[in-house]
């Protein structure tokens, strides 16, 4: 197994009195894709959102435990969540390019907020990230057009390019293809496999076949608990837990 880049230890999350995540511990190896699957309401999106502290945006949300990014607990009270999000990027279910910004402005927003003003440097970042997101060839001649003018699949790749611009070692994806058609979904899946060369990707998906196709590891959650975590080649061929077997064969969930 590669070096562990992100290590979650005994994570518990509450929304006011309701406990959504119950004592989950998972290690994420560097440069791998890990999927989280489970029925609706199992806490998978909440878990993912804690990994870059976006859960804090929800009133009443509270997380306990440790999330160690290269050994440093990002849940620590002295840690600035904005800094955390620079290291752990996120792509959401629905593509969300900033509606008033051009394609170029969308991609370069992160680096501009970090103070980069040099146009050629910004252009270089944009090209690099759009290439990594497999979008460059489709948009290179219309970088000044609005990001929202693109198709849904292109917008999602634009959001991935935007997340990559600040070069976070970890990329979180929350059902990144559920709003896309099968061809656009396949492009995102292929892109995820390419991104694995440089990044650690953690993806929440409702699509088990997607988890099986793209991920190296899969975690199965039910009612806030981790039922099973392991290599996809084990989980999808010979799961250890009956609940996992029932879920992946469509008998439960």
């Amino acid at each position: 197994m590669n070096n562990i880049v992100l290590s979650v230890k005994d994570l518990n999350v509450w929304y006011n009195d309701f406990q959504a995540v119950k004592g989950i511990s998972i290690d994420y190896p560097e440069k791998s894709i890990s999927a989280i699957i489970g029925p609706s309401g199992c806490g998978k999106s909440t878990f993912l959102r804690c990994l870059n502290r976006i859960h804090e945006e929800v009133p009443g949300a509270r997380a306990e435990g440790e999330i160690l990014l290269k050994g440093r607990n990002i849940l620590g009270s002295k840690i600035d969540p904005v800094q955390v999000r620079r290291s752990i990027g996120m792509v959401f279910q629905k593509p969300n390019p900033f509606p008033s910004m051009s394609i170029l402005e969308n991609v370069t927003l992160g680096v501009r907020l970090l103070g980069v003003r040099d146009k050629s440097k910004l252009m270089q970042v944009a090209e690099q990230c759009l290439r990594k997101a497999a979008l460059w060839d489709e948009v290179k001649d219309k970088l000044s057009q609005l990001g929202t003018s693109l198709s849904g699949g292109q917008q999602q790749r634009l959001c991935i390019a935007r997340a990559l611009a600040i070069d976070p070692p970890v990329l979180l994806m929350d059902e990144p293809t559920s709003a896309l058609d099968p061809i656009a979904s396949l492009k995102i899946e292929n892109l995820m496999s390419d991104l694995k060369k440089d990044y650690t990707v953690i993806v929440v998906t409702h699509n088990m076949q997607q988890a099986a196709r793209v991920a190296d590891y899969t975690s199965f959650f039910v009612l806030g608990e981790l039922i099973e975590h392991g290599a996809c080649s084990d989980i999808f061929t010979n799961p250890k837990e009956q609940k996992t077997e029932d879920y992946i064969t469509g008998k439960f969930g």
Binding site: A212, R213, C232, S233, T237
Partner: protein
């Protein structure tokens, strides 16, 4: 784990190449049984690892259409090739018991080696026509085998040949004839892979002699239309 259908194709070709070498070695008088076993071990390793790859490929990639047919065909070809490997060992054992070479065995060996090679070539070249040729050729191999059996039973009965010698020749011929059958199965797998048509257990399609080679090709064409 990122197994693709191309990986499965490549793996089965590597295995086929070892199986062909093993058959070649088994038929050479100067090669020892232990040398045949070395290759047989390699074949057995491929047998297990290819089945495991297909299993994981189906579980993880949920293949459809051509990719699904590749997975199923590779799995079936894998079994046929492993059995051919076993037959090569039996051939070597029987060959060791024979005092002198018999020209009829040489002819049968050449025919069977050609069938095996062509069945693999048909897979490589996506060539259903060549696969059909292999299937038709099995009849000739069966005829040759029957001739050998008849001749040597006759010689044993007439005491022209030592019983052990004659019996070993017949058993060796049987092993070769089985390889012909197994190569035919591979050819059938190739036709299934290329067209989606299962022609097994269908003598009308396989051996209907209406213009020989035309029959299977016509059937495949009908199915496509």
């Amino acid at each position: 784990m990122n197994i693709t259908s191309s990986d499965l194709r490549e793996d089965i070709l590597k295995m086929a190449s070892i199986v062909e070498s093993n058959l070649e070695q088994a038929l050479r008088v100067e090669v020892e049984l232990k040398d045949v076993f070395v290759l047989e071990n390699e074949i057995n390793k491929f047998h297990t690892s290819i089945d495991d790859s297909v299993f994981k490929y189906i579980a993880l990639k949920t293949p459809a259409a051509t990719d699904l047919r590749i997975a199923l065909s590779v799995m079936k070809m894998n079994s046929e090739l492993e059995r051919i490997g076993d037959q090569a060992v039996n051939i070597k054992r029987n060959l060791k018991r024979i005092a002198k070479l018999h020209p009829s065995i040489d002819s049968l060996s050449e025919e069977v080696k050609m069938m095996l090679r062509n069945s693999i070539d048909a897979f490589v070249k996506h060539d259903s026509k060549l696969a059909t040729d292999v299937i038709h050729h099995d009849q000739e191999v069966n005829d040759l085998y029957r001739d050998i059996m008849k001749t040597f039973i006759g010689q044993i009965k007439a005491d022209f040949i030592d019983f052990d010698e004659g019996f070993s020749v017949i058993r060796l011929a049987k092993c070769l004839e089985r390889i012909g059958d197994l190569s035919t199965n591979i050819a059938e797998d190739v036709i299934f892979l290329e067209s989606g048509t299962d022609i097994r257990h269908n003598a009308h399609i396989k051996f209907g002699r209406r213009k020989e080679d035309q029959v299977v090709t016509d059937k495949l064409k009908d199915n496509h239309e």
